[in-house]
Amino acid sequence: MRRQSTELALGAVALLVFLFFPLAGAGDYWIYTVTIGFYYALLAASWSLLVGYVGRISFAQAAMAGLGAYVSVLSARHLGWPVAAGIAAAVLVTGLLGLFVGWLSLRMHGAYLGLTTIAFGEILRIAVTAEHWLTRGSLGLEAPELIAGGSRTAYYYAFLCVLILSLAAMWMLLRSRIGLFFQAIREDEDGAASVGVDVTFWKVVAFAISTAFAGLAGALYAHFVGLIAPSMMSLQEMGFVLAMAVVGGFANILHAALGGVLLQVVLESLREFGEWRLALFGLVAMLMLRFAPDGLFGRLVGAIAKERQ
């Protein structure tokens, strides 16, 4: 109980911080940085839903986000759709692909599952790069704006709003019986099946939910930043997402999301260190996995909850 109320307190504090952050005179540069942080937060949270709660490893998250971005931008450029419709299409397409990949990988576990998701992610990235008549390949694609003439602050709050709604949706799902199904599947698939959990259905659906949120994040990112390239689908990007979720705490969507924002801010703050920052992230992620698997925020909440007892 102490722990749960501490978790809620963490969420409330984070919410307040992010709501008032732009008003505290942060400046456009940092507002932009934290908005990008929200993109990674949504990616990390949706990844942690799949890996942390359902226990299904996936390395395709970044690729799915990129797919969402391309679907949204291409439907705007080639079909003339409004941005909102493009984003909806992105969510639909990535969700459907997630259903497909989830179904294909039903009987795979652990490293084989990881390899399959790497394969899919890479196939997507290669296809996007190769079909340059459609996507302009590595040159990248320009995206129409989400908010016509919007300021950095406007985008910040728009992204924050979507992030909060997404986290809320995920949280409600995880609190429900479905969340229990997910955790049962993670702990003991056969045991879960034996007590009547439709393991097949929920494994596939979980994958689709995770990828749909990734697609949403990618589409929003596209219409915010204005330029997308296949590099956003790379395994390097996937490495960031993993590091962010692990450092935040990959078994909890809020922790993972906060990890995303935190690492993005740290990444920007340490700009002058160049490539060393990324090596540092990898190192910290390894240390976390080895010594503190519940992540920074997991430790924090644990420590505070203990103090309060």
Binding site: M108, G114, T116, L278, R290
Partner: protein, 300 residues
């Protein structure tokens, strides 16, 4: 296409297959003994390339010794990695060991790749190869550096096979891969064997990188695509099977080369070159997850 060109392509495919085989064998040994898929294998391959570069280009060591040196250096690195990161899987220090092993080797890959990027910069290096020039066998022309590298690769593979089959540590590796507990009961030191296996697997990847580096240039991201190929080969051949890895490597080398040639739209075909192997991977995982030579039921 002419039969000469076809034979040339087949030869190229076989040459590439040797390098895939070296990297894949390392992965296979690591999986066989430790039951861990090493997602950082590509970075060990890459560091082998850099070790060769540092020895051959910077320190002026003759190429053959540089290759041996690179292999030895990555062997040591492999042992250190096993001791620090992988050993906890067996000593019960982590919950959810399978997930842990996957994520920590992936994080290691991120760390090593960016470390190399930070230390060496993104610019490709081209240390001197073993042999320059072209080799002509009748009317067939193959680039000499590739052939020489493949030749050394074959020597290493044969040496490995001999080691695994006839030496004591090699037998220990096979025993622990077959049944860790029984091997321990029979007095084999599983922990030490695990360390050796990881070091050996790493050394093979490092040697492959050292051999290929001069041919295709050494960059921090050179390991990313080959490692996916190594996974494909290992899954195709059967995770943990050594003959499987060799056969799988040759098949993949040929599939890639031939698919590129046989698809009419050349620029597209080339761009998708890396995707053919991925499709093979997914098909194998779906239809015959144990691979060609693996035993049914043995899975990652």
């Amino acid at each position: 296409m002419s039969s000469l060109a076809l034979v040339e392509q087949l030869a190229n495919g076989a040459v590439i297959g040797v390098f895939y085989a070296l990297a894949a064998l390392g992965l296979s040994i690591i999986f066989g003994v430790l039951r861990v898929v090493n997602f950082a294998h590509g970075e060990l391959y890459m560091l082998g390339g850099y070790a060769y570069y540092l020895l051959a280009a910077i320190s002026g060591v003759p190429p053959v010794f540089a290759i041996v040196g690179a292999g030895a250096a990555i062997f040591v690195l492999g042992v250190v990695i096993e001791r620090l990161l992988v050993e906890p899987v067996y000593s019960g220090k982590v919950d959810r060991p399978d997930e842990y092993a996957i994520m920590i080797t992936f994080a290691l890959a991120v760390f090593l790749q960016n470390l190399a990027l930070a230390l060496f910069g993104p610019w490709p290096q081209r240390p001197s190869p073993l042999f320059r020039g072209r080799v002509e066998i009748g009317e067939l022309i193959i680039s000499g550096d590739r052939l020489a590298a493949a030749g050394v690769g074959v020597v290493l593979i044969v040496a490995l096979l001999i080691f695994i089959r006839w030496s004591s540590p090699g037998k220990a590796i096979r025993a622990v891969a077959m049944d860790r507990e029984t091997a321990e009961v029979l007095g084999i030191h599983a922990e030490r064997t695990s360390r050796l296996a990881f070091g050996l697997g790493a050394a093979l990847a490092g040697a492959a990188g050292a051999l290929i580096g001069p041919v295709f240039t050494v960059t921090p991201t050179m390991g990313v695509i080959p490692v996916v190929k190594a996974y494909i080969v290992v899954v195709l051949g059967g995770l943990g099977s050594i003959p499987g890895a060799i056969v799988g490597a040759l098949i993949l080398g040929e599939v890639e080369t031939l698919a590129t040639v046989l698809i009419p739209d050349t620029s597209r075909a080339l761009a998708y070159k890396d995707a053919y192997g991925l499709v093979v991977l997914v098909l194998v995982l779906l239809l015959r997850p144990q691979g060609l030579f693996g035993m049914a039921g043995r899975r990652a």
